[in-house]
Amino acid sequence: MPVNASSGTIRRSTILAFLGPSVVTLLVIGIGPLLYAVWTSLHYFNLTKLKKVKFIGMENYASVLTDSVFWEALGRTFLLLVISLPIQLAIGLGIALLLHQPGVGFLKTLTRLSLVLPMATTYAVVGLLGQVMFNLKYGVVNQLIGFVGFDPVNWIGDPTNAFIAITFWDIWQWTPFVALVLLAGLTTVPSEIEEAAKLETKRWFTVLRYVQLPFLIPALTAVLILRTADTLKLFDMVFTMTRGGPGSSTELISLMIQRVGFRSFDQGLASAQAIILLIITIILSQLYIRLLYKEV
């Protein structure tokens, strides 16, 4: 590696050669489209009326911020987030702690492998599976609850039940991810400290709270940021399962943006919605980092 002989530092040209391709790629596939979206959001830009494209300043943003449908969709998305994320964390942590126990190596390997399956399944396929499995008449979910004496539930056709179904499905698909990340976090706890703590107390919760949890903070922060961003942009699974219905009951913010941008073809308005969503995501990520890392 070319090094400046006098100072021992790496030359600027070397740094540029290594970083350059990544930065250019990021600019082309990340920043470029983002800037284009910002440009679009400041224009009346409808794909079916390209002859009428014109600069309208912040009008699209004003329309979004005063549209009750946008806020309802955003509220629905946050409701999904505040229900599913704590459940994913709780179950994921439980699974991670179980897998962190010593012994039964083969079973643990098998469990780790099976945890990858829901995550590896394409979102859209998960949604289609949900559509079939939650079918009122022929779905396996109603068959199962029928075995324990419950009447069939109208999952997809009832607004509340449809929301419960997509929440359940999101939890099913992403709890394994949380479990695996937290399991990785648990492996960073020095074994001698853990063993010493277990000699001091028989209470697992005390060990978790004072020994394991501090080491889990980085993993938890990563999970919170990733899952929050994922939930805010959750689209495929819900689109294929309920298409946002019945009514608007499962129309999350990403489905709304897709509807406006690609079914009404109003790219300007959809871009403004997407930019606002991006700002919200960045603010939340910053909050997580500041609040959680403060404790470390």
Partner: protein, 446 residues
């Protein structure tokens, strides 16, 4: 909107003239296609029986012409978006598949070529094209915009009442209901029992909600989306009567009907779970085949019930038009394909394979009406339909989204019919104002 009479006369005269020339010069598809052999034509097809029928006929066309037809299959819900993106990006599509409600949009964006470009070319125009053989209502609604014909009707539908005769007989009925009120008040209570339902009105929140559910109850009750000044007509007594009727009728439909698309509704009838269904004629082959229907032997078909304003059945389907973005060879090859697949000569085979042609002559042939139960009802429906059943202007893609959202909210009881119609009307008028209908920038054409 009616076809310009002058244009129609020209088209007819042109076709007749070509007929004379054709007799002398013996126009053949093979000869016409010679310069275009090896050309590939890209077209979007849907996942429906009529498209499978056309696909099965394709080898004959490709063998005769050497033209390759490249079919890109999409479910209905994706077809508009895929085509718009392709046309905006000046992509590969050579033929536009046009739903009734897309024609204004496509034509106003200059994405289509009028058929006169081809009918006026004796080398490309089949002397047997016989444009007047298409049902005028269907040609008008699906192929025409602003006095110009762009597309030839392809796999067209009318709303029909499919019913399970056995279930009706068991409940003591000799035949289907003639009116919507009769369906609700007499047939509804008698047929809704033991986990079975009298009726299904597919109402999923997509175009199904707008076309098959919302519009279906507006027109027979005398309502409409817009009045003569293009203001919302949804608060009129007639429109409200239709919407309230739908709410009342829901008690005789399966739970979760707001999540039923065509597939679920057709399946409900096919499995014997509902006794009656208003559905497109295109689903006849699915419901009539013992492979896909448990009630094939009991299946009967009638025209849609009447309302106080008459029958006003739903009108659906497509036309095929040559896309303006195609190059010269692709344009000619595309036209030859469109002309062939919608031709009078191929109509019977297309029908037999599961498609629904819009050629009058095929339904006049001996035995067709007897063999295909849906024919009499279909022919009757196509005599007196409403071309603007759903407005065909360029703004429909925006308006249908509003109808889908608020129509679903009304059905779910989240808002009353009045609240829903008021909000829907307000949003619909905002779109029309932005488009320039109220300022006189655009003519009030739908």
């Amino acid at each position: 909107m009616k076809l310009n009479p002058t244009l129609r006369s020209l088209l007819v005269a042109g076709t007749c003239w070509l007929g004379v020339i054709g007799t002398a010069g013996a126009w053949t598809l093979e000869e016409a296609a010679k310069p275009y052999a090896g050309t590939t034509v890209d077209v979007v097809f849907l996942l429906r029986p009529g498209y499978e029928a056309a696909e099965a006929m394709l080898p004959e066309f490709e063998e005769k012409t050497g033209i390759k037809i490249n079919i890109i299959k999409h479910p209905y819900e994706n077809a508009l978006g895929e085509q718009v993106r392709d046309f905006v990006a000046n992509g590969d599509l050579d033929i536009a598949l046009i739903d009734l409600v897309w024609i204004g949009n496509f034509a106003e964006n200059d994405w289509l070529l009028p058929i006169s470009e081809f009918t006026s070319n004796p080398e490309l125009a089949d002397p047997d094209l016989d444009i007047d053989d298409f049902f005028p209502l269907v040609l008008n609604a699906f192929g025409g915009w602003n006095g110009e014909v762009y597309g030839l009707p392809f796999d067209n539908y009318s709303g029909l009442l499919f019913y399970n005769e056995c279930m009706l007989k068991d409940a003591g009925f000799d035949g289907p209901p003639g009116t919507w009120s009769e369906l609700k008040d007499t047939y509804g209570p008698a047929l809704t029992k033991d986990g079975k339902y009298a009726f299904a009105l597919q109402s999923k929140r997509n175009e199904t909600q707008s076309a098959d559910s919302f519009a279906r109850v507006l027109w027979p009750f005398g309502g409409s989306f817009l009045d003569d000044d293009f203001k919302s007509n949804l608060m009129s007594a007639e429109s409200q009567a239709g919407l309230k009727f739908r709410q009342d009728l829901m008690q005789y439909m399966p739970e979760g009907i707001v999540a039923y698309d065509h597939a679920e509704a057709v399946n409900a009838l096919a499995q014997g779970d509902v006794a009656m269904l208003t559905e497109w004629s295109a689903f006849y082959s699915t419901l009539k085949s013992p492979d896909t229907s448990k009630v094939a032997d009991c299946l009967k078909i009638a025209p849609e019930p009447s309302g106080p304003a008459g029958r006003k059945p739903a009108l659906g389907g497509f036309s095929l038009a040559v896309a303006a973005q195609a190059d010269e060879k692709e344009r000619a090859a595309s036209w030859l394909f469109i002309q062939w697949v919608t031709s009078k000569a191929n109509a019977l085979e297309y029908l037999e394979r599961g498609g629904v042609p819009a050629r009058q002559s095929v339904y006049e042939q001996d035995g067709v009406a007897e063999k295909y139960d849906f024919v009499p009802a279909l022919v009757e429906s196509w005599q007196d339909g409403v071309p603007e059943f759903r407005p065909r202007f360029a703004e429909w893609p925006e308006i249908t989204e509003i109808v889908q959202e608020w129509g679903s909210k009304i059905m779910l009881g989240e808002v009353s019919t009045e609240e829903g119609a008021e909000e829907l009307g307000k949003r619909m008028e905002a779109v029309l104002e932005e488009a320039g209908y109220y300022s006189g920038e655009k003519p009030l054409a739908q």
